[in-house]
């Protein structure tokens, strides 16, 4: 007891050292795991300098990355902003891996380090480990090993085939990165052994069932020609598993001109794109979860008397900055702050569970007043992505608090129309509109490989399903098509089809710009 009275504080002042970090970590873990019931990967906490943080920024947050000029460009850009003082660096960066790697900036004060450990090493970490998207799409245990392989492999290719050849392939692959993701099904995983096994089985089957008699059957002639052609196309498509939304995957498997190492590089880019796919869909939830966790933990630490008032004030100030949401007309406005929205929603869910209003009971009969805030949150974190989370949990009180309104913008009109606002009639509409904004399916251009005749002209046909009349930027589109052509080796055509009417809106024939 005496000893406790002497030093209940975990740290004093702003200087930190590893002993303090370790003590703070243990105290935070006690609350996060013991009291909140979070479930996390083992943590690996790394202290980095600002330059190393910029490094990590520019290689899209990966601790290991192959070399490419675009990362150099990003570094130059981030460095420029940072040096001019336009942008501070993040206090931390966390990687979805097992063990979960968290970078802490050396400049952080000790209270900030504690906040950041709570935020990243427990908040994000819990989310990574438990959210269904991450569990389904990413393999946290293997990513570091894979990146190590990728880095070495690309370096080896550069050595063997020259910087230029590798750069060309990477350029093309990067251009298609957004189209290199399986959105709806888990990527097929066949080991090479399985593939050969399958081929062998098929061959055996054909041998067993071979009958010379079939060859003597008369072939159908002209009268049924059209039908035949259609059937052929169908069969062809089936054989190639068309339509295929993952262009990089299709090119990797079926391109006629790529060498094995080039296919492997496409695969590396594709795997990385796939790895980041869940992160793009869970920004609000991920940040909300981490912010909620750090907020809860620092308050608890303060209540336990383990943190001084000074430290608490510093953290609250920083927290307030993080969750600040300026209005649309504010010069500081740059979109909806995912920290603000996520944190506010999660705090409100907790409130609804413990102190529901009549409105809450109306809107959320299934959990309002159930008394188990953290349990409800843990379930939400596990089973939702941003779109479904907002659709399900955004409550009218918050819509009012943020004063959200929905603006419809048609390119053909000279005005925008306010479709709905934060009132009784508008709640559902605003909520649905906001959820749609976070739906990647609705916002990314939907481009598929629809057909290719490998035995004929080998032209690769792409189709863009145009939703709501939203076309592609033409310059970018043509440049990207040039990259597809480079990877495919033969003609590539793209046509834009209106998703609702089926009308062809534009077409880029294959001959065009065969650069």
């Amino acid at each position: 007891m005496v000893r406790q009275a002497a030093s209940t504080l975990l740290f004093e002042g702003s200087e930190w050292n590893f002993a303090m970090l370790s003590r703070a970590y243990d105290a935070i873990e006690e609350i996060a795991v013991g009291e909140m019931g979070l479930d996390v990967y083992p943590n690996q906490i790394e202290i980095v300098s600002s330059e190393q943080m910029l490094d990590a920024y520019s290689s899209i947050g990966m601790p290991l990355m192959y070399q490419h000029w675009s990362f150099g460009k990003r570094f130059v850009f981030e460095n420029h902003l940072y040096r001019k003082g336009n942008r501070g660096l993040a206090y931390e960066l966390v990687i979805n891996s097992d063990p979960c790697i968290t970078y802490l900036m050396e400049e952080n004060t000790m209270p900030m380090q504690a906040l950041v450990i709570a935020h990243a090493a427990f908040g994000h970490n819990h989310f990574f480990k438990n959210n269904y998207l991450f569990r389904q799409w990413t393999d946290a245990g293997a990513i570091l090993g894979y990146m190590d392989f990728a880095k070495k492999y690309v370096a080896k290719c550069e050595e063997r085939h020259g910087l230029r050849a590798v750069e060309e392939i990477l350029d093309s692959a990067h251009a298609l990165m957004d189209q290199g993701v399986f959105h709806y099904r888990r990527p097929p995983r066949l080991s090479p052994a399985k593939v050969t096994e399958r081929a062998r089985e098929r061959l055996e089957y054909e041998e067993q069932t071979y009958s010379d008699l079939w060859r003597t059957l008369p072939t159908t002639d002209g009268s049924t020609g059209i039908e035949e052609a259609e059937r052929e196309v169908l069969e062809r498509k089936k054989a190639l598993n068309l339509p295929e939304e993952n262009l990089l995957y299709f090119l990797e498997k079926h391109s006629l001109i790529l060498e094995p190492w080039q296919r492997e590089i496409l695969r590396i880019v594709r795997v990385i794109a796939q790895y980041f796919y869940p992160q793009g869909q869970t920004k609000v939830m991920n940040e909300g979860c981490a912010t909620f966790v750090h907020y809860t933990i620092i308050n608890r630490l303060f209540d336990q008397g383990r943190m001084s008032e000074g430290a608490m004030l510093e953290l609250l100030a920083s927290h307030a900055n993080v969750v600040f949401q300026p209005g649309f007309s504010d010069p500081r406005y740059s979109g909806i702050n995912p920290y603000a929205l996520g944190f506010a929603m999660m705090q409100d869910i907790e409130r609804i569970c413990t102190k529901p209003t009549a409105e809450d009971k109306d809107w959320f009969p299934d959990f309002a007043g159930n008394g188990d805030g953290i349990g409800t949150l843990i379930e939400a974190w596990e089973n939702h992505r941003d779109e479904s989370f907002i659709l399900q949990y955004l409550n009218p009180a918050l819509i009012r608090k943020f004063r959200l309104f929905n603006l419809t913008d048609r390119a053909t009109d000279r005005f925008c129309e306010v479709a709905s606002i934060h009132d009784e009639r508008g709640y559902s509409a605003v909520r649905a509109a906001l959820a749609r904004i976070y739906d990647p399916g609705a916002n990314r251009p939907d481009i598929e490989v629809v057909d290719v005749n490998l035995l004929g002209d080998r032209q690769l046909r792409l189709r863009h399903m145009v939703k709501n009349g939203r076309l592609l930027e033409e310059v970018n589109r043509d440049a990207t098509l040039a990259h597809v052509r480079r990877l495919w080796g033969y003609g590539v055509s793209l046509e834009g089809v209106d998703a609702s009417t089926g009308a062809v809106l534009y077409a880029c024939p294959s001959g065009e710009a065969a650069a």
Binding site: Q52, F71, P326, L407, C416, N468, T480
Partner: protein, 439 residues
Amino acid sequence: MPNFIDRRLNPKDRSLGNRQRFLKRVHDELKRSIRDQVKSDKIADVDAAHGVPVPKRGADEPGFRHSIGSGERDHVLPGNETFSAGDRLKKPEAGGGGGGGRSAGRGEGDDDFVFVLSRDEVLDLFFEDLELPDMVKLNLKETVTYKPHRVGFTTAGTPSNINVGRTMRNSFGRRIALRRPRSKEFDDVVAAIAELEDEEQLSQPQRRRLLQLREELEALERRRKRIAYVDPVDVRFNRFERQPVPNACAVMFCLMDVSASMGEREKDLAKRFFVLLHLFLKRRYERIDIVFIRHTDEAREVDEDTFFFSKQSGGTVVSTALEEMQRVIADRYPPHIWNIYAAQASDGDNASGDSERCAELLRDELMKRCQYYAYVEIIDERESEIFGSTDNGTSLWRAYRTVDGAVPNFQMARIARPADIYPVFHKLFARHKVVQLRR
């Protein structure tokens, strides 16, 4: 217990490879924009870090993206104060894109940013494949400064150069080899004698022993005298050899005609030429002096401002400037200490008969002292079409042509436009080729 790792000590330049790849990728564009910046008026700042816009071409990363200007989209914005459902808001005029609509493109539209090339990177781009003719060779030939360097030992030298360690080592070895009595042996015998002498009464064996010891002591003393503690054969001196040191000082003479025929345009062109030469020398030498000599029908050494900006009227006698230069060299810049470079700019006008004298001065006097002499003639744009690079032209040009053929480190060229400077400069300092051809 988590795993804490301190990464701060890791090697720093992890992204260097990426930066180099990036610079290489946009190399041509960067070179062009550096060249443009140098051409433009900020030429005095060449020798510094430069902000360059990252060129769009070569550094863009295309992808299938929705264009902002088509179709229908929904925005949800916070902070509504006055709107109610059904309100219509006028869009800002095309290109304005203010307010909320922009946020969608964050991270994508960031392509046109300015980034900083370090001074070295700038100069490398600027000076790429540029070199003074046979620069290195000339340097080595011309060096007359020597600095002594230690090279091993010698048996002869001045006392101040004695290497004590080496000398004592030799002496020690010799003493051991020749068995020079050590002082301990000596002391032992002396002590033994003293002990015996102290005895009141000496027994027979003791007396014999004393005699023996005295003889022994005598022998030791003799031996010690014969074998010196430090013998002249032990002595070693540090050996120094004079090694040539490359000369690290350069002086640059800027010679310019400031008579009325040289207008603003001509002076501007000349200035750029001088700056470029200066920059180049600055890269090679630790210390550079610049001497400005302007002339009409008489020449004077002036400061930089006067050189470029003050006006003077009079005729044109080019040789006065060369004489002035000769005087300054004799006065302050002895050629065995200084690397002398000269750049002369003129419109080619000269008093009749003087051009030959100039050529003579150059051939017989100045070129023997100069590392390099460059002459540019600033001509009218219309003239440039007529003359090209022929031998025809002003009397000065024709006279200098004779020098050009005779001396390898003399270069001359005509410039007419700001845009010409760089190519001329490039030609003047092109690697070996030109010079070798002329030999």
